[in-house]
């Protein structure tokens, strides 16, 4: 455990002082000893590590001076219920300011088959071994050790989902994490364990509740753990729509076992500056990971997405498609790496980043990378940055469609290539609706 460094500036700790941590630990009094020990160790790491520096390669192109904890403290207190995604769900959980405020349990039939949709605080009492085995089990590799530690240290509650062997869910499980209040920090967490041959879809939705301080600074440091056991199929979607003053750091980790299939889709809409790290481990032959993301960047927003596709066994497959549409003076960064371990032969990996620049002042950065240590592989990547195709635009204009509508149509089509990969049709429609609404409210002309 690194010792707290006295030389760090106060801004590296912000409002997350030793006193604040002690108060948080008190609130966790009934938790098992390993949990509290993990939190103590995490706090020590958080307090010892500096904020990211401009020279840190893993933060290349990021506006690191924007990564500022400010005076945010862990959010508490009541707030009105947030809007939830209009999708029929198998079960749902709503967290506001780090606490569960509303839930709908799975049907009696699903519960009788062992499906668990609950909170982490309850899982600490009733599903301890499973939680211990999967909670933040992967080492951070993409640069956010400090924030992962902060997350573990101050995590008050989150979603815990367990789909037992062979159970198939026909509807998604919805989890909503909301924040309200000025200088409020939240630590959303969603943990999903899909056992052998199970099938499920989980949707995370991140929102700031309007009104109550949503126009002042907020901080979200979230994480999610996805574990797909042998032969399981796990679909995960996340919609990030924090307020425009939120600094968001979201750490996504997934593990796919033999013949498992994980699909993750991250939709980025909100936040002042958002960093999303996604680590996908393919641990056994036949594992497949599909990594998708859509970003609508407008105003002065910055979206920073970092990914690792880690092929650790032979005959694994991954497919990444990240699409960004950039308006106004926004910035996006995509940095991806396909890592093929020695002996991970017959790997089939793909990585693609497409940027559609819609404004003179927007900036798209791409760092598509490969590290290949096996020869019998098929690894390709591509990155393109373009504007709207003038021919397509001309075609629509010549059909009498106004320019703004034509652009909206073309941007929607640009995103549809990703959305169409969702198997759940109602979910597809709900997410498309969100994106349409966002484009309607934008300066797209």
């Amino acid at each position: 455990m690194p010792a707290p460094s006295p030389t760090l500036p106060a801004r590296a700790i912000g409002g997350f002082t030793a006193e604040a941590f002690a108060a948080h630990l008190e609130s966790q009094a009934g938790a098992p000893a390993w949990w509290l020990e993990r939190k103590r160790a995490a706090y020590a790491t958080f307090a010892a590590l500096p904020l990211p520096a401009r020279t840190d390669e893993r933060w290349r192109f990021s506006t690191v001076q924007g990564i500022d904890l400010g005076s945010c403290v862990a959010a508490t207190g009541a707030a009105p219920l947030p809007a939830v995604l209009p999708v029929k769900a198998a079960a749902s959980l709503v967290f506001v300011n780090n606490r569960l405020v509303s839930r709908s349990a799975p049907s009696a039939e699903l519960e009788s088959r062992g499906v668990v949709v609950t909170t982490i605080s309850e899982a600490l009492r009733r599903h301890e071994p499973l939680l211990k085995a999967h909670f933040m089990a992967q080492a951070q590799r993409l640069g956010s050790e400090k924030f992962a530690s902060l997350h573990i240290a101050f995590l008050a509650d989150g979603a815990f989902i367990h789909i037992p062997r062979g159970v198939e869910l026909s509807e998604p499980i919805l989890v909503t994490h909301a924040v309200s209040g000025a200088d409020a920090a939240i630590f959303p967490h969603t943990l999903v364990v899909a056992d052998e041959n199970s099938r499920a879809a989980v949707v995370d939705s991140f929102v700031s509740i309007p009104g109550t301080g949503a126009d002042s600074r907020q901080l979200a440091v979230g994480a999610n753990d996805l574990y797909a056991g042998h032969g399981s199929r796990l679909a995960y979607a996340a919609v990030q729509d924090w307020s425009r003053e939120t600094l968001s750091l979201q750490l996504n980790a997934s593990i796919a076992r033999r013949d498992a299939r994980i699909q993750s889709l991250n939709i980025h809409l909100g936040g002042r500056q958002s960093r999303h790290e996604s680590l996908s481990e393919l641990r056994a032959p036949g594992a497949y990971s599909e990594m998708l993301a859509l970003t609508v960047a407008s105003g002065t927003q910055e979206f920073d997405q970092r990914t690792h596709q880690m092929h650790q066994a032979p005959n694994t497959k991954s497919d990444l498609l990240y699409k960004n549409a950039l308006l106004d003076s926004s910035r996006t960064i995509f940095s991806g790496l396909i890592v093929v371990d020695p002996d991970a032969q017959k790997t089939d990996a793909y990585q693609s980043n497409r940027n559609l620049v819609l404004s003179e002042n927007a900036e798209a950065n791409s760092l598509p990378g490969l590290e290949i240590q096996a020869n019998d592989v098929r690894c390709t990547h591509g990155a393109t940055t373009t504007r709207i195709d003038p021919e397509q635009e001309f075609y629509l204009l010549s059909r009498g469609i106004p320019r703004a509508a034509a652009h909206k149509l073309l941007v929607t089509a640009f995103f549809e290539e990703v959305l169409t990969r969702l198997e759940d049709a109602p979910l597809h429609d709900a997410l498309l609706g969100l994106i349409r609404a966002r484009l309607d409210g934008s300066a797209l002309t």
Binding site: E363, N365, R387
Partner: protein, 479 residues
């Protein structure tokens, strides 16, 4: 050409000077230096080099400032390989005077190097030079002829010392401007201790008919450890420059750090061809960059086969409207080698275009890396970049990495980047074996096919030798 005569008067092989000077030897000076700069790098080393070269004070100041930058800069290991930490800067000789040449006999040259010479069909005399047994061989006539032919066109083709001393009015303006001293730690090192290299000026409208080859000058001054090259192509001129040769160069010095600056003025074209085949104990850390003015074109053709670690990212700054930059890169990494190569394209004017094609082959435990930068700033219109990186992995434990960085601002430009990694197709090998080729022959043929469209851009004799060399490297990689 007084200087060249001086060299011709040097003692014949067999005398005390018959060893080798792998650092740019100053044997063009008749006076003997009783001391040399010793190992390690201090201000004294720089003073010494500058004194030996009888340099103007501004050059000495330039060197001293560069030394400070070099010493202040950390190694770039936060992104580059940690192998750099194995360079012991204190044990390196930064400059050797005449009496201090390391000596070697033909018997000391490793057998595999001798075999390679044999296979490539390198002439006897040349072999000894390349192996470092002899410091000179007789290509004097070729160099004089070329030099005479081009000087009729007004072309200046000299070494760095002579260029800065005899023609400061031409070269000082651009010297250290394309690659500033502080660009990186190794460009600073070169700026402090550079010697050797070529300074070339091509007058307006002149199309140099012969490709200029450093190879022809190798007896005039040895390939340097710290070469400094500056090529200025004036308006509308055209020049092709070739550096290196396909034969392996066996070196006793382990650090080579060159700086090459190209300036293409309005409408000029420069093509710079490098074939690097240092022996596998050499760290080859090179900074190469060109500045392309309006409608100018700079093309780097870069082929890396040798060395332990090469880090080289030829770049073009596209400064004028409609300028064009191109990098064609071939890298072959065998056991114990790391070819960390790539390209940089900095767009700084409207309607500039750039093209990068990189192909790498990793054999055995070799590692090849592509690293690139494409930068298109705000408010530029009609800029285009195309990047293609293909990697071929021969053995199960071969390694390849790709780390491009692409920044595009504004909506009036387009870039595309593609990379693929593959192995030689089993079907192709099967087909060729069925036609009676051995597996190694089939493999060589496939690998040659993989880079064929690039090798065709090399001059004839280079591409022939390159093919033979790949055959050689592929031997023992299968079966």
């Amino acid at each position: 050409m007084a200087n060249i005569e001086t060299i011709a008067n040097e003692p014949a092989p067999g005398s005390a000077v018959s060893g080798i000077d792998q650092s740019a030897g100053n044997f063009r000076y008749e006076e003997k230096h009783d001391f040399d700069a010793g190992t390690g790098l201090t201000e004294r080393t720089v003073d010494y080099i500058s004194a030996v070269k009888k340099e103007a004070p501004w050059i000495k100041d330039f060197r001293l400032a560069a030394l400070k930058t070099f010493l202040a800069r950390p190694l770039p290991t936060h992104w580059a390989t940690r192998d750099l930490e194995n360079i012991n800067f204190d044990k390196i000789r930064y400059y050797l005077s005449n009496g201090q040449k390391p000596k070697r006999t033909w018997d000391e040259v490793p057998d595999d190097i001798k075999r390679t010479f044999e296979r490539l069909g390198i002439p006897e005399q040349e072999r000894k030079f390349l192996a470092g047994v002899e410091a000179q061989f007789d290509s004097e006539a070729a160099y004089s002829n070329i030099k005479e032919a081009v000087s009729k066109q007004g072309v200046i083709f000299v070494n760095s010392t002579e260029g800065l001393r005899e023609h400061p009015e031409i070269f000082r303006k651009w010297f250290g401007k394309v690659i500033p001293t502080g660009d990186n730690k190794f460009s600073a090192l070169n700026s402090a201790v550079f010697s050797g290299g070529s300074f070339i000026y091509v007058p307006p409208g002149v199309k140099v008919s012969h490709p200029l080859q450093a190879y022809f000058r190798i007896n005039a001054e040895n390939f340097g450890q710290f070469e400094r090259t500056l090529i200025i192509a004036d308006e509308g001129s055209e020049v092709t420059y070739m550096e290196g040769c396909t034969a392996p160069k066996f070196s006793t010095t382990t650090l080579h750090s060159a700086v090459v600056e190209l300036v293409a003025l309005k409408g000029a074209k420069i093509q710079y061809i490098t074939v690097q085949n240092w022996s596998s104990n050499v760290f080859n850390l090179v900074t190469k960059r060109g500045l392309a003015h309006e409608e100018a074109e700079i093309k780097w053709i870069d082929c890396n086969i040798g060395s332990r670690l090469t880090m080289k990212y030829p770049g073009v700054v596209l400064k004028g409207r409609k300028a064009r930059g191109e990098v064609v890169s071939i890298a072959l990494a065998n056991d114990g080698q790391h070819q960390d190569t790539g390209a940089k394209m900095i767009h700084a004017a409207d309607e500039t275009t750039s093209n990068i094609i990189a192909k790498s082959i990793s054999v055995g435990q070799g590692r090849s890396t592509y690293r690139g930068v494409v930068h298109i700033p705000r408010h530029l219109k009609g800029c285009r970049n195309n990047t293609e990186c293909d990697a071929l992995l021969i053995n199960t434990n071969s390694r390849t990495d790709t780390y491009p960085a692409i920044t595009v601002r504004g909506s009036a430009n387009s870039v595309q980047h593609e990379a693929s990694v593959s192995k030689v197709s089993d079907e192709q090998i099967f087909y060729m074996r069925q036609r009676g080729l051995t597996e190694a022959q089939a493999m060589s043929l496939s690998v040659n096919g993989f880079i064929n469209d690039l090798t065709r851009q090399f001059p004839m004799e280079y591409s022939v030798e390159l093919k033979r060399l790949i055959d050689l490297e592929m031997e023992g990689s299968v079966g």
